[in-house]
């Protein structure tokens, strides 16, 4: 390996920060989903990087699980967004105001 572990982990931290920024700032449901995906990818990158430097297969396994779970999560989230869009004609969660709070 010509690269060192710290480089990958720093990229992962940057992605995590971007994801948290997106969740904090954006109010568009799809964009928030993007942000969540970025966070999950940051975690996966961490896992695979750690697994490579051990070396150990567990990290890759967990990354595979995580990818598949992310797919399921996105499917559910997008279905919810579609339902919301049908109802509100909007996907901005700042405009969802049927519940107070």
């Amino acid at each position: 390996m010509s690269n060192e572990l710290i480089e990958f982990v720093l990229v992962s931290v940057a992605l995590l920060g971007i994801g948290i920024y997106g969740l904090a700032v954006k109010r568009n449901a799809i964009r928030m989903l993007f942000a969540v995906e970025i966070i999950v990818n940051a975690a996966n990158l961490n896992l695979v990087a750690f697994a490579r430097f051990m070396p150990h297969s567990g990290g890759q396994t967990l990354a595979l699980f995580s990818i598949a779970i992310a797919a399921a999560e996105v499917a559910v989230g997008l279905a919810l967004i579609i339902v919301a869009y049908r109802m509100y004609k909007n996907i901005d969660i700042a405009d969802f105001r049927s519940l107070k709070g």
């Binding site: 390996m1 010509s2 690269n3 060192e4 710290i6 480089e7 990958f8 982990v9 720093l10 990229v11 931290v13 940057a14 992605l15 995590l16 920060g17 971007i18 994801g19 948290i20 920024y21 904090a24 700032v25 954006k26 109010r27 568009n28 799809i30 964009r31 989903l33 942000a35 995906e37 970025i38 990818n41 996966n44 990158l45 695979v48 990087a49 697994a51 490579r52 430097f53 070396p55 297969s57 890759q60 396994t61 990354a63 595979l64 699980f65 990818i67 598949a68 992310a70 399921a72 996105v74 997008l78 279905a79 919810l80 579609i82 339902v83 049908r86 004609k89 901005d92 700042a94 405009d95």
Partner: protein, 168 residues
Amino acid sequence: MADALFLAISVLTIGSAIAALEMRSLVYGSIALMGTLGGVAGFYVMLDSPFVAMFQLAVYVGSIAVLILFTVMLVKRELIFKKIEDPKRKFAGIGLMLIVILALGAVIMDSGIKTISTDSDPVDFREIGGDFLTYYWPALILMALILAGSVMGALVLARREDTIENEQ
């Protein structure tokens, strides 16, 4: 020191992650997200994990990106360009991001991670298959249940009630 390929991929990944959140058009945002996911897949290839990389491409690009694009296109076009964003909130968010990155980065840079490097051979991806079948088999079953449940649920949610009767 990081080599050029690594720098290129990290610029692609991080840049397109920012673009995914900041592009005006959601469609371009989705494409930028695909760039991020592809960049992460590139990292996996650099980390000698081709199986995870290909799985990432197959799942993320093959299904998640399609789903996102489909949803984005179902949503009316004007909304894609509508932006409700409080500048104050935005600066707060940027501050939060910087705090997170700097704090975590400082912690990590300060820790023992920075000294880790390896010359050992990567794990063969066939070992993952072995792990799946021996150690993680209950998790694999749960995974199947998650996928089944999410597909069923997403179908139930996304299909329109009014046309179901017609199909019978």
